[in-house]
């Protein structure tokens, strides 16, 4: 999946933000907060941590606005900053209980007993993955990012993202044995 690109609205908002007009950055937040949340959520274990990372990421981006190259897509730039904020947060909270994965997870299954068991196992399996592995699996297999895009987001080569994905999938499959169709 590619970045939304430099549409005229974004260009105008970036221009306003660089001139110090608060409406510019507010518009950029509105435009990019959902994707930023997705990136953060792929790295941290809970919805609440993802929110914190998004807020922290936008604040860092605001502080670093004078270093932003207006020729680049703002979304890719801010998502990278949000990813770093999420990685920092995940490291700070490394020893966390799998229980922190949202209990409000929507149920895709018919059988409530089976659903509960599978959700519990998924929580446990995801918590056991290192944050980068978890991010690579979610960004690639759930959100549809390419290896190259993931590499840019996480500050690693695309080949490393691909290799991480391979190992993370193996680990996840091992942890979720008997769950596959």
């Amino acid at each position: 999946m590619t970045d939304a690109g430099r549409n005229p609205e974004e260009r105008e908002l970036v221009g306003l933000a660089l001139e110090g007009d608060p409406r510019g950055f507010a518009g950029l937040v509105r435009l990019h907060q959902r994707r930023a949340y997705t990136v953060a959520r792929s790295i941290v274990l809970s919805h609440e941590d993802a929110e914190d990372a998004v807020q922290e990421g936008f604040l860092r981006a605001y502080q670093a606005l004078d270093r932003f190259d207006p020729g680049q897509p703002f979304g890719a730039w801010v998502n990278r900053i949000v990813a770093n904020a999420a990685l920092d947060l995940a490291r700070r909270k490394k020893v966390r209980n799998a229980e922190e994965l949202s209990d409000a997870m929507p149920s895709p299954f018919q059988d409530p007993a089976e659903d509960a068991e599978l959700k519990a196992r998924l929580k446990s399996a995801l918590a056991k993955l290192p944050e980068r592995s978890r991010a690579v699996v979610v960004l690639h297999d759930v959100e549809g990012f390419t290896h190259a895009e993931i590499g840019k987001l996480l500050g690693i080569p695309g080949g490393t993202a691909r290799s991480d994905l391979h190992h993370a999938r193996q680990r996840l499959r091992g942890l979720l044995e008997n769950m596959r169709d």
Binding site: Y37, E51, P108, D141, R169
Partner: protein, 136 residues
């Protein structure tokens, strides 16, 4: 990028895992949630403009920032310690040398025999003999 390189879990028979993951990672669907998040972000920025907020500087970020200078300082310290320890220890050798070469200062005991060392040249030898005879 080669299509084979971008195979998803769903392409490999893991639809069930992907369904679960999508459920777990689904962003909030309620529009009011996003309006609320935007408001919170903008409030945070406003607080920052007023100097009320600073970004969280994690231990990891601080460590990363100081890792290179820290390693360089540790390396210099190691080299300095190595040079110091590798230096020949001259002081004890010098002390031992002085102990061997310096004449011992011994207080003369009453009634002790004066030992006169025979000088090497002939004139001095005679003088020494004369002093010996006079002393007895």
């Amino acid at each position: 990028m080669d299509e084979d390189n971008e195979l998803r879990l769903t392409d490999e028979g893991d639809e069930r895992i992907v369904r679960l993951l999508r459920g777990a990672y689904a962003p909030p669907a309620d529009e009011s949630y996003w309006e609320g998040l935007e408001t919170r972000i903008l409030s945070l920025l406003a607080s920052h403009r007023l100097g009320l907020v600073r970004t969280q500087s994690s231990l990891w970020s601080v460590l990363e920032r100081w890792a290179t200078p820290g390693l360089a300082a540790a390396g210099l310290l190691f080299i300095a310690a190595g040079l110091f320890l590798a230096q020949p220890n001259n002081e004890p050798v010098q002390t031992t040398y002085e102990e061997v070469t310096e004449p011992l200062v011994v207080e003369e005991l009453p009634g002790a025999v004066n030992v006169v060392t025979a000088p090497r040249d002939r004139l001095s030898q005679r003088e020494a003999t004369f002093r010996y005879v006079l002393s007895h």
